[in-house]
Subunit: 138 residues, 4 copies
């Protein structure tokens, strides 16, 4: 898991996220990651609307370190950690208001043409933007 995130995004926990255990249901980790990923896509890549998404998720991994409690605003870090021919990797970290690391994770995205319904190469333009912001990649 990486230690530094140039891009961070605040995500308020909602009461509805909380399950019978008194903490956010574990599936919400993916929602917190996602809000930060969308914000990255809007602010770094410049594609902000839901219909502009140009990738699909292929693989996610989540590690739960501490309980996510309500109410608080999470501080979610997201970073592109690698770009392949048709895929790119992202890593995440969710901090609580006191700075404790609550959740971390990683995802693999596949560049995707929704109209053609098939995977495509990561465009040179996208690769340049990601590399400029979070690169160089190994």
């Amino acid at each position: 898991m990486p230690l530094e995130f140039r891009f961070r995004h605040p995500v308020p926990v909602r009461f509805k996220d909380i399950d019978i255990g008194g903490h956010a249901h574990h599936s919400h980790a993916l929602v917190y990651f996602e809000e930060a990923r969308w914000a990255y896509w809007r602010e770094v890549v410049g594609r902000g609307r839901p219909e502009q998404v140009d990738y699909i998720l292929a693989d996610v991994r989540v590690r739960y370190h501490q309980r996510v409690l309500y109410p608080q605003t999470l501080d979610v870090g997201v970073r592109v950690s690698g770009v392949g021919r048709k895929t790119f990797d992202m890593v995440y970290e969710v901090l609580g208001e006191d700075g404790t690391r609550l959740v971390s994770g990683a995802s693999v995205q596949v560049a995707y043409d929704y109209e053609a319904a098939r995977s495509v190469r990561v465009s040179d333009e996208l690769r340049r933007v990601l590399e400029a912001f979070d690169g160089p990649f190994a």
Copy 2:
């Protein structure tokens, strides 16, 4: 609230529906209604796929009678209670596995052309189908 429903649909409660109070979060009432409404649309009206929806919700009302607990399969009744020029009304009832009425409600739908992004008249075909199944309407 009506007492009889010709159409009923089973909806299993999910663990994730349950909130810190140990019962389904109140917003799930609308999801239970919706599953029954979709089933009605598939089985009675004959339009079953999400992209075939031809109305929007304008108004909903929910009454909470008893807690919705997990695990169980709910028995959700849904009925069209009236058809107007551009709208139609539906009523709902959610029973628990022991037959107790847990939630009831009502909704108003507006016939809608998603491509044109505007409300439209309820088609004669739809009116006939609804009237034949749940009519006559007042």
Copy 3:
């Protein structure tokens, strides 16, 4: 529906709220209301933690005026509109970032003792706080 709200609370829409129609699923109206209601309870009433809740929902009503789109931060108004012996009423309004009214609604709460599992009288203390902030009530 009332026109003025002394208490307002910001609620960011999440991507996951959006359904196949490209707008927030209608059940999220209740979640937006709820976030504002919890904030009211924390900031006005002074009870902020999920385990401090002392009421249950008996009845909700939602009116959908315009689609709720992503991304944006909603401005949710909430107000106590009346206090009875065992119940109190609240009304809500959800505005979009451009000030358009997207959703409005109302709810009835019953004062509840979770340990005893039964409804109770609205305490004089709570009545005074609500009346001082949002009263006088009719």
Copy 4:
């Protein structure tokens, strides 16, 4: 990923699971896994009520193979693949109605005493039940 599951559980997709892409939002994979895991806990282990849960999730992994569409009832396989001193591993497979593998995954659970708020050893009783049903473990 294992190929055989002695325990399988049906999970109907809900309309609300579907996101703007027309398929279930990726976080629902964890909900489908969970419904099968709860059913396993009820039917194999004999602990069926939410307040009887005696573990926490430490780590999950999800692989997305095909889109999860609505409406359909998923066939979710779940298996305990290993038991450690304080943890146990589970693997999952989500099949569509036509038998296509849509999602697969794995999770690591930590045996947990909620009252004491700390991890505990997997009880001998639980180990025996899991081993008898899904063992022998490597």
